[in-house]
Each structure stands twice: as structure tokens, then as C-alpha cells.
């Protein structure tokens, strides 16, 4: 870099700035900011994308949206968002949201939780909620590790990867989260990395407008636990890795073979192939769950 490029220019500074605030400031609980997240964490970016989605790309009034999360770093997300929210127990965000949705079908649940919370302890509930096609948006922030507890391996940790509980390399095979959710009956499924912010925000917006069970998998960087144990560098290096590994894939490319959406990882290199895109958007969708209840039982208050 030349000296010219490194020069700091203070001439554009505005004196006594007044009335400036972040475009999403209304939707943040101020007393909780700054967040507990490590510098550069993908969860913060995902929350940013979610807030952009509900302001720009989705038509649901904010009063009708509520955010539920489980336990984990991703689980803290509901505490930062200034909407009706609940921070449930480990793995049980989806049943809580199902209970609210069945009681008040006009509300739209958004579940923001992690891969361990949703696919380890919470897998049974996810499968049944997808089967029922309950109207909800599940945003699973997949960082391939159990982050909040310090870096133990998760069902999404790739083979050969290192973590605090796999010091010799992981021996069992990981889940393909999108595949599981589609197999259980989800009617909308997409995956994006935190690098692809705009597509992620738009996908979340489309999922919010969709009536039925929607699943968004967000590939996120946990550089402090996963990255550090596997020599993948800091937040910047991991997001560059996502940028290089992503492969555009949509319904036409997949056909019926959802194994094409598998993520590949090589020890020493990191993630080498991450298919991203909207994998499923059912147009001829089955009736959403609450509609079936309302039609079955005519009730008078």
C-alpha cells in the first residue's frame, strides 16, 4: 500500500452529529447491546440479516412476529431482538413456538437456534414440527460445534475435525441439516453462509412470507472454537473460506438427490464445498397446520 492509500483523512468528519441511529435500532433491546458474541461472530451478522429481512422483505406486522430460541450462543439471539420473545430450555424452542402458534395462529414464530440445540437434543421436535407443516421459520445457525460450552463436537462437526472432545479427530459422520428437514416434510428450505448476506436476508424474507414449515440453514463462523482447533484462522479468514467454498445450488440442480447438498470438509483445508441456495420452495403446498385446526373445529368465543 502506498503512503497515499494509508493516509487518514479527517476532512469528512461531521461535527456534533445528531439523530443518527442504526437502521435496525428500533428492533434491538438497547440494554442488552453490546452482545456477548465474540468479535466477528456469524450470529451477529445473522441477526442483522434477520432484522433486514423483516423490515424490507417481509409483509408481516412486527407485532405478530415472535422470536424463540434455545440454549447456546445462537440461543441468546432472542434476547437482543425487540420483539415478543422467549428463551426456552435446551432443544425445546420448537415445541414452545408450536404451542403459541396453535393457540394463536395469526402470530408468526421465528426460531433462532443453533445446530446442537435443534439437531441434537431437539431433533425429535424438529421432525414432528416439519411433519405437521406448522407455520414457522426455523433459522438454524450452523457453526459445526457446541460453542457456548467451550468447543465440544456437535453432530455437524465434520469427520477428522478437531475439538475439545475430539482431540484426535472426529470419528463419526455429520448430519446434512437441510436434507433431514426436507425429508421430514418441510415445505421451504434454504442454506446460505454468513458471507452471502443479501441472499440470506432475502431468503429469510421469503421464508417469513411462506405459509408452512420453513427452514433456513446459516453456515456461520465460530473462529474462536471451531476455527482455532482446526487452524482455520480468524473471522475474516473463515468468511473468505465460505466465499470460496460456496456452490450455487437450487431445486433444478438438486432434482431428487439431496445428497448433492452435502458439505465437504478436508482436514487442513477447511470447508471445500458448501452448496447454497434455495433448495426447496413448494408451490403446491399442503395446508398449513393451523388452517386444519381452524377448519376442523368451529369455535365461538
Amino acid at each position: 500500500m502506498t503512503e497515499e492509500e494509508l493516509k487518514i483523512d479527517k476532512s469528512t468528519l461531521v461535527k456534533n452529529p445528531k439523530g443518527f441511529k442504526h437502521p435496525h435500532d428500533e428492533l434491538l433491546r438497547k440494554e442488552a447491546i453490546p452482545t456477548i458474541y465474540c468479535p466477528g461472530c456469524g450470529i451477529g451478522t445473522t441477526i442483522n440479516a434477520f432484522l433486514e429481512a423483516i423490515t424490507k422483505y417481509c409483509t408481516i406486522p412486527h407485532n405478530d412476529v415472535f422470536v424463540v430460541s434455545g440454549i447456546g450462543c445462537s440461543g441468546r439471539a432472542s434476547g437482543y431482538i425487540n420483539l415478543d420473545g422467549f428463551h426456552s430450555i435446551h432443544g425445546r424452542a420448537i415445541p414452545f413456538a408450536s404451542g403459541v402458534e396453535i393457540a394463536q395462529p395469526k402470530l408468526k414464530p421465528v426460531i433462532i437456534s443453533g445446530d446442537g440445540d435443534l439437531f441434537s437434543i431437539g431433533l425429535g421436535h424438529l421432525a414432528h414440527a416439519a411433519r405437521r407443516n406448522i407455520d414457522m421459520v426455523v433459522i438454524c445457525i450452523n457453526n459445526a460445534i457446541y460453542g457456548l460450552t467451550g468447543g465440544q463436537d456437535a453432530p455437524t462437526t465434520p469427520v477428522g475435525a478437531f475439538s475439545k472432545t475430539t482431540p484426535y479427530g472426529k470419528i463419526s459422520f455429520p448430519f446434512n441439516l437441510s436434507h433431514i428437514t426436507i425429508a421430514n416434510g418441510a415445505t421451504f428450505c434454504a442454506r446460505y453462509t454468513v458471507y452471502e448476506y443479501i441472499q440470506l436476508a432475502k431468503a429469510i424474507g421469503r421464508a417469513m412470507n411462506h405459509q408452512g414449515f420453513s427452514f433456513i440453514e446459516v453456515i456461520s463462523n465460530c473462529h474462536v472454537n471451531f476455527g482455532r482447533h482446526n487452524n482455520l484462522g480468524d473471522a475474516i479468514a473463515m468468511r473468505q473460506m465460505f466465499k470460496n467454498a460456496r456452490v450455487k445450488m437450487d431445486e433444478k440442480d438438486i432434482g431428487l438427490d439431496y445428497h448433492k447438498t452435502d458439505i465437504t470438509y478436508e482436514v487442513g483445508k477447511g470447508f471445500t464445498k458448501i452448496p447454497t441456495g434455495i433448495f426447496l420452495e413448494e408451490r403446491e403446498k399442503p395446508e398449513e397446520f393451523s388452517e386444519r385446526i381452524v377448519h376442523a373445529y368451529e369455535f365461538k368465543k
Binding site: N63, F66, S78, D84, F86, S98, A103, A296, F299
Partner: protein, 390 residues
């Protein structure tokens, strides 16, 4: 398929039914809107009957869900929208629900959980009764929380205590456990259901009209002498937040020593200062009694027969039947401990006897029986006579 409202909400008059039926009718009259449960003997009948009855009176949803844990969490969710909800289970399911129950206590969620006790531990005797979950109600979930539990001894009381359980849970914003047992739930007796206007139904405190929605706090007890915070619900514009973590008045978590201590103390105080709302113990012949039997539920029926026979034989025996089993009504024990010897009759290895001995400050006799039948009147009479000898 459309099912129109085609059944009346209440069937006043005399009936010959079992405890499970009475619990369902009590729940319907209380205004239950949703019901999520898992089939388990001996509580499956409640689920079956409610799946049929609730839609027919205009309720929203009554169905089986994938497991016990899902049912308790769905109930907590539905309660946060303002609905009255109930779930039913037995021993193994009650064990599974413990984390959810702890969450309900911590977030002050109104909820009724029916536990129809059966032989344990583990799978035990699924179709035989027991009273072995008593301590689990208070100590089943981790940490400290003030348990609230009621135990009926007749089909009539199953009906009345279900309504009382809903009222208490709404008034005090707490989960309430209806601790019944396989015998009371399945025996058939006469039950009289009164007219609807004679039944008192209480609903939870909601924010006063004109409350500022932006600054409302979901767990705030300023200006609430009964320490019960008004509860706002999802979708009303209050942007409420609830969490199982230690939290401030507005629900936002904060991991702080003083805050945690204050919060837990307040939860206990809330139950303590409202003790007058709980059903009183049922006393039989205790004023001049030298030997008092303490029992709950089906065991109390055996005990009543035993003390009547003892009186005929000239022994001054009495019965204290506990209706509210948690928080433990220590005043009644402390009142009679100097005047009489205590016998505790229960269908367990000795659980109710722990708080009894603690507040009596002396050793008490245990009459226990496992296997499905309550201690027989003969057994209890024998204990009374032996005690009289000493």
C-alpha cells in the same frame, strides 16, 4: 371435517363417573383452551375423553404430541398467549417433564399438570396405584422453587380440585400439580356437578388499561401487594420476553448474585403470603384425639375407616387429611404435635412422613404399603392399637 359446537359446557346434576371424567369436566368448566399430552397409563383416559370433549365445546386444540417433553413445552407456549392449559401424565412422564416444570416456575407461567401416580420407580406397575411421587413434586426439578400441589380423595374432589388448581395457577401465576393416584382416578362414585353460576372461575391478572406498552415489565411487582406480576401475552404489542435464566423485571437475563437471590426469594414469598388461598386440611375427630393419622388421597379413606373403628373401641383417634400437600401445611402439624401421637399412612416407602416429622419435631409411625392397594383399615388400626399400648 367440521365439528360444530354440539355439547353443553357443563352437565349439572348427579352422575356416576370416575375421577378421570371429573378432572376433564373440571377443566372444561375452568375454560381450558388447549391441551397437549402423551398417552400413559393410568392417565390416558383423560387424554382420550378430552380429545373428544374439548372440540365439542368450542376449545381450540386437544391432541397427543410426540413426547412428554414436547407436551409441557407446548403448554408453556400456549399459556403465554393467554390460554388456560393442562397436561396429564404419570410417573415416568412426570420425570421427563421436570426441566419444563422448572421453566414454568421460573417464568411464572400459569399451568395445570395432572400426575396420576402409579407404581414406580421406572416403568414399575403401570396399571397399579401408588403415592410415590410426593417428594418429586417439590424436589424433582433442579434448584429451589415453591411447589404447589393438591391431592383429591374422591371423584367429587377430583372435579372441585381441578377447578381450584386452575384458579390458583391463574391467581398466583404458577404451575399447579394435581397429584392424584390410579385408584382415585379410576374408581367410580357419585358426583354432583353444580350449576355454572355457583362455580367461581378466576382469570390471571393482565396489565391495567392504559399501561404504556413500551415500558411494561413482565415480572414487575411494584404496586402488587400479593407479589403476583400482571402478565402480558404474545401478539398484544408489549414486546415481552421470558427466559429460564435469572432475569430482571423486564425479562432480560442478567447473571448477578443479588438479583438471583432476590428473584428466588420473591417466588417463595409469593406462595407464602397467599397461603390463605389454598384448601385447608380436612379434619376428622382431632379435637380430643390422642393418636392422629395423617394421610392424603386414597390412603385417607382407609384411615377414616380405621379411626372410626378405633373410636368404637374406645381409642381417641383422629384423622388429618391433607388436601394441599405442597406448600406443606405445617401449622396443622405444629398445632397438634404436643397433644397427639402421629401415624402417617401412605402408599410409598415413606415420603409424606418427612415433612410431618420435621414439623412435629418427633418420631412418627409409618404405615406403608406398596403394590397398588392403599394401607388397609386393619393395618392402620393395628398401628393405632400398638401406639395406644405404648
Amino acid at each position: 371435517m367440521v365439528v360444530e359446537q354440539h355439547q353443553p359446557k357443563i352437565y349439572p346434576g348427579l352422575h356416576f363417573k370416575n375421577g378421570n371424567w371429573a378432572i376433564v369436566e373440571g377443566a372444561i368448566i375452568s375454560g381450558i383452551a388447549e391441551f397437549f399430552a402423551y398417552p400413559i397409563s393410568p392417565a390416558s383416559e383423560i387424554v382420550e375423553y378430552l380429545s373428544y370433549r374439548l372440540p365439542a365445546v368450542g376449545g381450540k386444540a386437544a391432541f397427543i404430541v410426540e413426547d412428554e417433553i414436547a407436551s409441557i413445552n407446548m403448554c408453556i407456549g400456549a399459556s403465554w398467549t393467554g390460554s388456560k392449559v393442562m397436561t396429564t401424565t404419570s410417573g415416568p412422564g412426570f420425570s421427563l417433564k421436570q426441566e419444563g416444570i422448572g421453566l414454568a416456575y421460573m417464568t411464572e407461567t400459569p399451568l395445570v399438570i395432572v400426575n396420576v401416580q402409579r407404581g414406580g420407580p421406572s416403568t414399575g406397575l403401570p396399571t397399579f396405584s401408588a403415592q410415590g411421587d410426593y417428594m418429586q413434586v417439590q424436589f424433582g426439578s433442579h434448584g429451589d422453587y415453591p411447589a404447589v400441589a393438591l391431592t383429591p380423595w374422591s371423584v367429587q374432589e377430583c372435579f372441585e380440585l381441578t377447578i381450584k388448581a386452575f384458579n390458583l395457577s391463574e391467581q398466583l401465576r404458577t404451575p399447579v400439580i394435581l397429584l392424584t393416584d390410579g385408584e382415585v382416578s379410576r374408581m367410580m362414585e357419585s358426583i354432583t356437578i353444580p350449576e355454572e353460576k355457583e362455580i367461581e372461575i378466576i382469570n390471571r391478572k393482565t396489565p391495567a388499561k392504559g399501561t404504556d406498552k413500551a415500558t411494561f415489565k413482565q415480572f414487575d411487582v411494584t404496586n402488587q401487594p400479593d407479589l403476583v406480576p400482571p402478565m402480558a401475552h404474545f401478539g398484544e404489542g408489549y414486546t415481552i420476553f421470558g427466559t429460564g435464566l435469572t432475569h430482571l423485571d423486564n425479562g432480560v437475563p442478567l447473571l448477578d448474585e443479588d438479583l438471583h437471590s432476590k428473584l428466588i426469594h420473591r417466588l417463595f414469598k409469593k406462595i407464602e403470603i397467599n397461603k390463605n388461598l389454598f384448601p385447608e386440611p380436612d379434619l376428622h375427630n382431632v379435637d380430643d384425639a390422642e393418636i392422629i393419622v395423617i394421610a392424603t388421597g386414597i390412603s385417607a379413606r382407609s384411615a377414616l375407616e380405621a379411626i372410626n373403628i378405633a373410636r368404637e373401641k374406645g381409642i381417641k383417634a383422629g384423622l388429618i387429611r391433607l388436601v394441599t400437600v405442597w406448600p406443606f401445611p405445617e401449622e396443622i402439624i405444629e398445632k397438634y404435635t404436643k397433644k397427639a401421637e402421629f401415624i402417617v399412612a401412605e402408599m410409598s416407602m415413606g415420603q409424606l412422613i418427612w415433612p410431618v416429622e420435621r414439623y412435629a419435631r418427633k418420631k412418627c409411625t409409618l404405615v406403608s404399603r406398596l403394590g397398588g392397594t392403599p394401607p388397609s383399615p386393619k393395618q392402620i388400626l393395628k398401628a393405632i392399637e400398638e401406639l395406644k399400648q405404648r
